[in-house]
């Protein structure tokens, strides 16, 4: 009886709905503005980057103005918070050896922009404008010799194009499938 009642509905929507994807009809569609406001994870190719721009030159002032220096040190080192600039050890053959310092180790420039945008300054997260984040990111790249022109304009196009020293110098996680050992050939 119940099934019979449902039948016309199934016929009606059956064409659109995949038989394997039942539609509960719970939840609503977000507005474009809602999506945009939360869409803050930046992919390596930079789709989510907002329009904006800045230079290391501008960033050097913002670094002081926005309080970064207070925690990370005026030169990007020597503060209570982690150092943001590689040690003065010359040019190392393996950039990995500079240490776990985001603006030099990260394979993608976008990760640096993303983290400053979402997580800094500590205690006032989310208060930087896109232009400010572009500028400060450029400054950290300049300090780490990732870029050598303090007037180079970083924006939503140029930032993802920056070739980080570790661009291809990191280990990807393996393809994951259920029921597989964590590393083929490793018995443990």
């Amino acid at each position: 009886m119940r099934l019979l009642k449902l039948l016309p509905l199934i016929l009606l929507f059956g064409a659109a709905a995949d038989a394997q994807s039942p539609t509960y009809g719970v939840g609503r569609t977000p507005t474009d503005a809602e999506i945009l406001a939360w869409d803050i994870a930046i992919s390596p190719t930079g789709e989510e980057l907002p329009v904006g721009s800045g230079t290391a030159d501008e960033g050097s002032e913002l670094y002081l103005e926005k309080g970064c220096a207070g925690c990370h040190g005026t030169t990007g080192a020597g503060g209570l918070a982690p150092r943001l600039v590689k040690r003065d050890v010359g040019v190392l053959e393996d950039p990995w050896q500079y240490g776990r310092i985001l603006p030099i180790r990260s394979p993608y420039a976008t990760s640096v922009w993303d983290f400053i945008n979402r997580g800094m300054p500590l205690g006032a997260e989310g208060t930087l404008t896109p232009d400010e984040v572009y500028s400060i990111t450029a400054y950290l790249f300049f300090l780490n010799d990732v870029i050598d022109d303090d007037l180079m304009v970083l924006d939503e196009k140029t930032l993802p194009a920056i070739q980080m020293p570790n661009r291809d110098n990191w280990a990807q996680v393996p393809d994951w499938f259920p029921g597989q050992p964590r590393l083929q050939g490793y018995p443990y």
Partner: protein, 443 residues
């Protein structure tokens, strides 16, 4: 009045008076039935008259009774509390204070030495945050989960929406990447306290993803929380569609704030950081995003990357364990926990002679997938020094290694202290000294 009712009214009267412990003691003294019965009746009369009881405790060999009887309080009637004699607590882990000077919580370890069964009480569940975090105070009425990106129908759910969806309830452990035993640790709370197991209730992520309609080429999701750093992790679509859960329930009540209230992603068997707390967004994407969480796990070595992803087979003896004391030779149930990110625990073996002979332990209760599993082993300690170890074999045949075995596999020079690559799942040795004291035996 029925007899039962009469009894009840006396009972309430008695508890009101906070009768001292020796009332029961003396009332049922068996040394001399006759005189005690007389004593009891006398006391009964005294009670009825509302006179406070004396404490003329007779010297006899009776076992002690309760210390006192507690008046009920509205608070305890409303939300129960453990006994004041139970003092098991979590401790900050990894040499950094929690809370720290800023009030940030970083890593907090579970007292596994006191654990029984397989469920970690919510109040004792370990806690980890990426860089130290304030706990967001979230009104569940206002909380939303958004699913968008490479989907046909982007969706926003309220908590009530999610509770309308088909639910599942599963036991799962979580373990932190920092759960690494070293020779300076003295107790199991230090060596292994960054893992816990709870009963999680929520909606399968696959249910929500199917509802949204995942598009071709969408091989990853990015799951993101709402804490001040908005912690986000990249998770493969194969995992998202397999067994990830969007949890609103933990051990029969809403997920605790430290565990992600009101919503937490559970990625069973994946390392701790993937189990995104305070979850508000899932973006369906076509590539690995290298979020700050992902960056935190970055390595140059493919083997280390693989071994720090899905957790390996692991076990540890919780009792007796480091810092505990055996009162003397005789019978003990050796008891511990085993788990694996590769599935359920198939077998656990125990050795009492430092690994020369291994015996099958008993698995207590069903071995759930990606869940702590209790094992026990009946042991008669002869009082001589020895070494206890356990090892886990999971359903896909992975075997928990000793540190030496792992080092040998990687051809580590013997003069180097062995370091297990990726997540440390090595065997934990506990040394039993002749005086019954238990010590971490990592060389």
């Amino acid at each position: 009045m029925s007899l039962a009712l009469k009894f009840l009214s006396v009972y309430f009267f008695v508890t009101e008076l906070s009768v001292p412990v020796n009332f029961i003691d003396e009332g049922i003294t068996m040394d001399s039935k006759k005189s005690d019965r007389r004593e009891f009746l006398k006391r009964g009369a005294a009670l009825a008259g509302g006179v406070a009881l004396g404490t003329t405790k007779t010297a006899n060999a009776q076992l002690e009774g309760p210390e006192s009887f507690q008046r009920g309080t509205d608070e305890i009637v409303g939300y129960g509390k453990r006994s004041r004699f139970v003092d098991s607590v979590r401790i900050p882990h990894g040499g950094r204070a929690s809370p720290d000077a800023f009030g940030l919580d970083f890593h907090i370890a579970t007292p596994l030495q006191d654990s029984v069964g397989v469920i970690t009480p919510s109040s004792l569940h370990y806690m980890g945050t990426t860089r130290g975090s304030f706990i967001p105070d979230i009104d569940p009425e206002k909380h939303r989960l958004m699913i968008h990106g490479m989907v046909d129908n982007p969706l926003v759910f309220t908590m009530d929406d999610l509770k309308r969806m088909p639910s599942v309830t599963r036991l799962h452990f979580i373990e932190c990447a920092g759960n690494r035993s070293n020779r300076r640790h003295t107790t199991i709370q230090e060596t292994h306290g960054m893992t816990s197991c709870a009963e999680w209730t929520g909606v399968l992520l696959s249910t929500l993803l199917k509802e949204a309609g995942v598009q071709a080429g969408a091989d990853w999701i990015v799951a993101e929380g709402v804490e001040e750093v908005k912690g986000a992790s990249s998770i493969p679509m194969t995992k998202a569609m397999d067994d990830c859960l969007i949890c609103y329930g933990m051990n029969g009540e809403p997920v605790r704030p430290q565990q992600g209230f009101p919503l937490r992603l559970m990625a069973p068997g994946f390392e701790g950081i993937f189990n995104v707390k305070w979850l508000r967004r899932i973006k369906v994407v076509d590539q690995y995003y290298m979020t700050y969480n992902d960056f935190g796990h970055l390595t140059q070595d493919p083997a280390t990357a693989a071994l720090g992803y899905q957790i390996g087979p692991k076990s540890v003896i919780t009792h007796p364990s480091g810092g505990q004391q055996l009162p003397g030779a005789g019978f003990y149930e050796v008891s511990g926990l085993a788990w694996s990110g590769g599935g359920s625990v198939a077998r656990v073996e125990v050795t009492t002679d430092g690994g020369r002979t291994w015996f099958d332990a008993d698995i207590r209760g069903p071995a759930h997938k990606m869940a702590h599993t209790r094992f026990t082993f009946e042991w008669n300690w002869d009082g001589s020094p020895c070494e206890l170890q356990s090892r886990c074999i999971d359903e896909i045949g992975q075997v928990q290694p000793s540190r030496a075995q792992a080092a040998e596999f990687w051809n580590q020079p013997p003069d180097q202290a062995p370091r297990v690559r990726g997540q440390d799942n090595s065997i934990q040795p506990w040394r039993v000294d002749g005086d019954g004291s238990i010590h971490n035996a990592i060389a």
